[in-house]
């Protein structure tokens, strides 16, 4: 068991192995593990963020659901009001139209009646002239008595 030149050979072997480990073994392993640790940390952070976002989304969903419901009921109330209003308007319009028609009818009736009265008057006048002609027969001159007849006609 002597110390001999093996010492140097082994020292060089050791140095070579250290160099090899420093250069080729440590860095890739270190990188792989660091990367994985980072990835796991990122994943955990993302999961945490996702959880928070889920809660937020649920909250927002609830809020918008409530808002939609409120709006729907508001729209419903609005439309009911509007419907009542339309019915009311229609009623008013119908009444106005009816009044207008009635008024027109009345006017027409009045004018017809006036027209009939005028015609009747003419006929009565001619009847009276014819009657007078028949009574007076010979002496009556239509031309001579036209003034008297017109006077008579206007008195009817």
């Amino acid at each position: 068991m002597n110390i001999n030149a093996t010492l140097f050979v082994q020292a060089l072997s050791f140095a070579f192995l250290i160099w090899f480990a420093v250069k080729f073994i440590w860095p890739p392993l270190n990188r792989a593990i660091d990367d994985r640790n980072k990835r796991i940390a990122d994943g955990l952070a993302a999961a945490e963020k996702g959880k928070v976002a889920l809660v937020e989304a649920e909250r927002r969903g609830d809020a918008s659901l409530k808002e939609a419901r409120e709006r729907a009921s508001a729209v419903l109330a609005d439309s009911e009001k509007r419907a009542a209003q339309i019915i009311e308007e229609a009623r008013v319009a119908a009444k106005a139209e009816a009044d207008r028609i009635i008024a027109g009818a009345r006017e027409q009736i009045a004018s017809e009646a006036a027209k009939a009265r005028t015609a009747l008057r003419e006929q009565v006048a001619s009847l009276a002239v014819a009657g007078a002609e028949k009574i007076l027969r010979r002496e009556v001159d239509a031309k001579a008595h036209a003034d008297m007849l017109a006077q008579l006609k206007s008195q009817l």
Binding site: M1, A11, A21, I25, W26, N30
Partner: protein, 272 residues
């Protein structure tokens, strides 16, 4: 290994001898071929295997192999993080290398020594120590490499002047009369680190190997005497028990070597 020549001392001596090839003039200039080849193969298999997995490592869901490698990575990374607050770009891979390599070398302690002797003998090698960490050359090579890293990082953190200043003025004070005691104490403290680091690993592994050999010897008695049959059974059971216990030791020693190396290098960054 011829059975007729087998004595307890020759058995143990055989298993504790490295396959040595002299280079140059011999003496110090010799290399333990078995130690070098075993440590190279183990380093290649373990760190090369980790590299193959690390090369394709992705941040996606990891496969079984990647998870296995990442388990080691995170274990080492957390250990270093506990000791050293700064960048782990160098200290991390250093610790990983030490842990994996020392563990693999220690693991060879669990391969039955007689199998190793049979295979190596069959291949024509007179000796073959399968456990590189029972060779003081390996453990001191590593611990003194750590020592030089301590010096290097001390220089880097404090500057050469700051380091020398600290060597002479800590821990007692900056009075010139205290320079010598300060320096002596610091040198001892500094040198004690690599020596204890290397000796601890070597001692534990060497002693563990020795106990396997003694228990194996107990087994050889079984073939020599009648009452030895009992010893043979005891040998088997005890070897098994020691191997189970040894699993703990090889893991613990690898861990201790790693942690202490990191602690020493981390301490080099601190100012007194």
């Amino acid at each position: 290994m011829a059975a007729e020549n087998l004595t307890p001392s020759s058995y143990i001596a055989h298993h504790l001898t490295n396959l040595t090839v002299t280079v140059g003039e011999g003496g110090f200039w010799a290399v333990n071929v078995d130690t070098i080849i075993m440590s190279w193969v183990l380093g290649l298999v373990s760190l090369g295997g980790i590299w193959l997995v690390a090369r394709g490592a992705t941040a996606e869901v990891p496969g079984r192999l990647q998870s296995f490698v990442e388990m080691f990575f995170e274990f080492v990374d957390n250990t270093v993080r506990d000791v050293f607050p700064g960048s782990r770009a160098f200290l991390g891979p250093l610790a990983l290398t030490i842990f994996v390599w020392v563990f693999m070398m220690n693991l060879m302690d669990l391969v039955p020594i007689d199998w190793v002797a049979t295979v190596s003998g069959g291949l024509g090698a007179p000796h073959w120590k399968a456990v590189p960490s029972t060779d003081l050359n390996t453990t001191f090579a590593m611990s003194f490499s750590v020592f030089f890293l301590i010096i290097f990082f001390s220089f880097k953190a404090k500057g050469v002047g700051g380091f020398l200043h600290e060597m002479f003025t800590a821990p007692f004070g900056s009075n010139p009369a205290l320079w010598i005691p300060n320096f002596a104490l610091n040198v001892i403290e500094l040198l004690a680190k690599p020596v204890s680091l290397g000796m601890r690993l070597f001692g534990n592994m060497y002693a563990g190997e020795l106990i396997f050999m003694l228990l194996g010897l107990l087994g050889t008695i079984a073939s020599l005497s009648l009452g030895g049959a009992l010893a043979g059974g005891a040998s088997g059971i005890l070897t098994w028990a020691w191997a189970v216990f040894h699993i703990l030791i090889i893991l613990l020693q690898a861990f201790i070597f790693m942690v202490l190396s990191v602690v020493y290098v981390a301490m080099a960054h601190e100012h007194h």
